[in-house]
């Protein structure tokens, strides 16, 4: 049994088109799964559905999300919130907007421990200091008292990582955590996430559009197109190819600076037509 099991999850815009089409995926304890797709493929929506932060205009049509065997839909809203708070954490995309600008950093790390999990303030404080040290932040005590605007983007992303691991969650959802950063900082942050994940043996669902990043951090990946899982495979097998035509085309479109003759092939129209047909057939099967 995997820690996270998503089964046939279908979402749609209220009275509108589908966003996700019977998505199934699982993440084991200690596994890093990449969730890849172009913008609009619905990759962020899976994380939002798990966390219960879907926009109001989007509704769950069908499907099941199991966390450690518990079906989240069977829980009351209150209990569900508690379970998510205790077991799942999010590393968001933009470190500049992910920390509350009017609050000091310290309470933003400890508030979950104190308010939701009932730790004592001193214990939470000690835990936060320990974690900031773990993510290589110099002088953690000073940083705890700082306001977010006093810290750099890379520093803030480290704090968010520390905050995510604070309550020893079983699952972390990382939603494009390095897209807003410069490549040199991205490298440090990806390494940090990878190390922390291995050390804490956490399940990690890593949402990204960058196949380069996937190859560095994920053991397995799911490729999405129009909310449908096109391919679900092992990372090594994926990059060794040949898998699904669409994912291969995506791989070819990704620039590779080491190859001087890299021809940057756009995704060919026939591949898009084929994958569109697949989606249309799926919709017909549901009687759309």
């Amino acid at each position: 049994m995997s820690f996270l099991d998503v089964e046939n999850l279908t979402l749609r815009i209220v009275r509108g088109p589908r966003i996700l089409r019977a998505v199934s995926l699982s993440v084991d304890q200690g596994e890093v799964r990449g969730l890849v797709g172009e913008s609009g493929a619905g990759k962020s929506m899976i994380g939002k559905a798990i966390l219960g932060t879907l926009p109001r205009a989007i509704e769950v049509v069908s499907g099941r999300i199991r966390l450690d065997g518990t079906d989240l839909q069977t829980l009351s809203a209150r209990e569900r919130r508690r379970q998510i708070g205790a077991q799942v954490a999010l590393i968001p995309q933009d470190p500049l907007t992910a920390l509350n600008p009017v609050r000091r950093v310290g309470p933003q790390i400890t508030n979950r421990l104190v308010d939701i999990l009932g730790w004592s303030k001193d214990n939470a404080q000690a835990r936060a200091l320990e974690l900031l040290d773990e993510v290589h932040i110099p002088d953690p005590a000073r940083v705890m008292r700082a306001y977010p605007h006093e810290l750099s983007g890379g520093m803030r992303q480290r704090i968010l990582i520390a905050s995510a691991f604070a309550a020893e969650p079983k699952l972390i959802i990382a939603d494009e955590p390095t897209t807003a950063l410069d490549v040199t900082v991205q490298k440090q942050i990806l390494r940090l996430i990878k190390n922390m994940q291995a050390k804490h043996n956490t399940a990690l669902l890593f949402v990204t559009h960058d196949l380069g990043v996937v190859s560095k951090i994920c053991q397995s990946l799911s490729v999405l197109y129009a909310g449908k899982v096109i391919e679900d495979t092992d990372t090594r097998r994926f990059f060794a190819g040949p898998g699904h035509a669409y994912s291969q085309a995506l791989l070819h479109a990704t620039p590779k600076y080491t190859d001087p003759d890299d021809s940057l092939t756009p995704v060919p129209q026939q591949v898009i037509d084929a994958v569109e047909a697949e989606v249309a057939e799926f919709d017909k099967g549901l009687g759309a």
Partner: protein
């Protein structure tokens, strides 16, 4: 020292504004074609009488001379003597100020409560019929100015269902001796809650009329600001930590959403104070505004000048206070 600097800059700007206001009001009313002095005297007065009285009020000098003399007096706290009421302008104006301040602040409190509640409810129930209803109500409240709301309130709660007083500041039958002009404040301090209730009953209608448009603006701006904030990652993060929605809104979104709303509330509050002029007239409430209209009708130049300068002073002080509050609440300014 960003904060100190912005306060200093604001103080300089305040002085410029006040001086500009003084210049404009002084010269505009000097264009008045009628002769206020002639109106004060009995019909049989001679040219000589008029000249003597003019000299008494300093009206025989050149307009620039008059301005310098007047400005010199103002700096020393001497605003001259009212022509129609024959008392020092400063005493008259300060005597009426508390009434207007009490009314404005009560209106502000009502507006913040109603507007805040509407914004929070609208955010909590966003993209539902409740939010749509709040938008429509707010849109109407905003489109119609305080003067009309005042008239509507008079009809509804003064005539159709007379539960509030619609005229005056306090019932004469109470026969209560106030030691200060801050009636509301004083009645609480002296534990006379019957007097307090009577005052509130008088003030509530004009205050509500002033508050309705402001409440709608607060509701609109704060809700918009809240909804924008609700999309930010730190709010999402708080939600995933297990906080319930209402607590996410009040704990995480509100402190940030209030900041941009605050400056606009400041500007709008100055509009509200400006609105007291006509609302006081409408409800025969004895404040500065009511006195101002009488002063204009009586062509009481020193009194008009005094009142306008006082209003300008209130406006600039309110803006200053808002700016400082903003800076104090914003850690970016506090710790730069």
């Amino acid at each position: 020292m960003l904060l100190m600097r912005s306060i200093l800059a604001r103080l300089v700007a305040t002085c410029v504004t006040l001086f500009g206001a003084a210049v404009i009001v002084f010269f505009v009313i000097r264009v008045v074609p009628g002769n206020p002095i002639a109106m004060m005297l009995p019909p049989g007065a001679t040219e000589d009488d008029i000249a003597r009285l003019q000299a008494l009020y300093g009206l025989d000098k050149s307009i620039f001379e008059q301005f310098v003399i007047w400005l010199g007096g103002v700096v020393q706290g001497d605003f001259g003597t009212s022509i129609s009421l024959r008392q020092p302008v400063l005493d008259l104006v300060l005597g009426r100020l508390p009434a207007t301040l009490e009314l404005s602040i009560m209106a502000l409190v009502i507006a913040v409560i109603i507007g805040g509640a509407m914004a929070l409810t609208g955010t909590l129930r966003r993209e539902t019929r409740t939010e749509a209803a709040i938008d429509v109500t707010g849109g109407m409240a905003l489109s119609v100015p305080d003067f009309l709301w005042g008239l509507v309130l008079i009809l509804l709660f003064g005539v159709l269902w007379p539960v509030f007083h619609i005229s005056g500041r306090v019932s004469p039958s109470l026969d209560f001796d106030f030691a200060t002009q801050f009636y509301l404040f004083e009645s609480v301090l002296r534990l006379r809650f019957d007097v307090w209730a009577d005052l509130v009953s008088h003030m509530f209608m004009p205050a509500l009329a002033l508050a309705i448009p402001l409440a709608a603006i607060i509701a609109q701006l704060l809700k918009q600001s809240l909804k924008e904030t609700m999309h930010l990652d730190y709010v999402t993060l708080a939600r995933t930590k297990g906080y319930p929605e209402a607590s996410v809104i009040t704990r995480e979104a509100l402190p940030n959403a209030v900041l941009p709303t605050l400056t606009l509330i400041g500007v709008q509050f100055t509009f509200l104070i400006g609105g007291t002029v006509i609302i006081e007239r409408l409800f025969s409430y004895e404040g500065l505004g009511n006195m101002a209209i009488d002063a204009v009708i009586n062509r009481d130049l020193p009194l008009i000048q005094g009142i306008v300068i006082l209003f300008a002073l209130i406006f600039t002080v309110v803006n200053l206070v808002v700016d400082m509050t903003y800076a104090a609440l914003n850690p970016r300014l506090r710790h730069a």
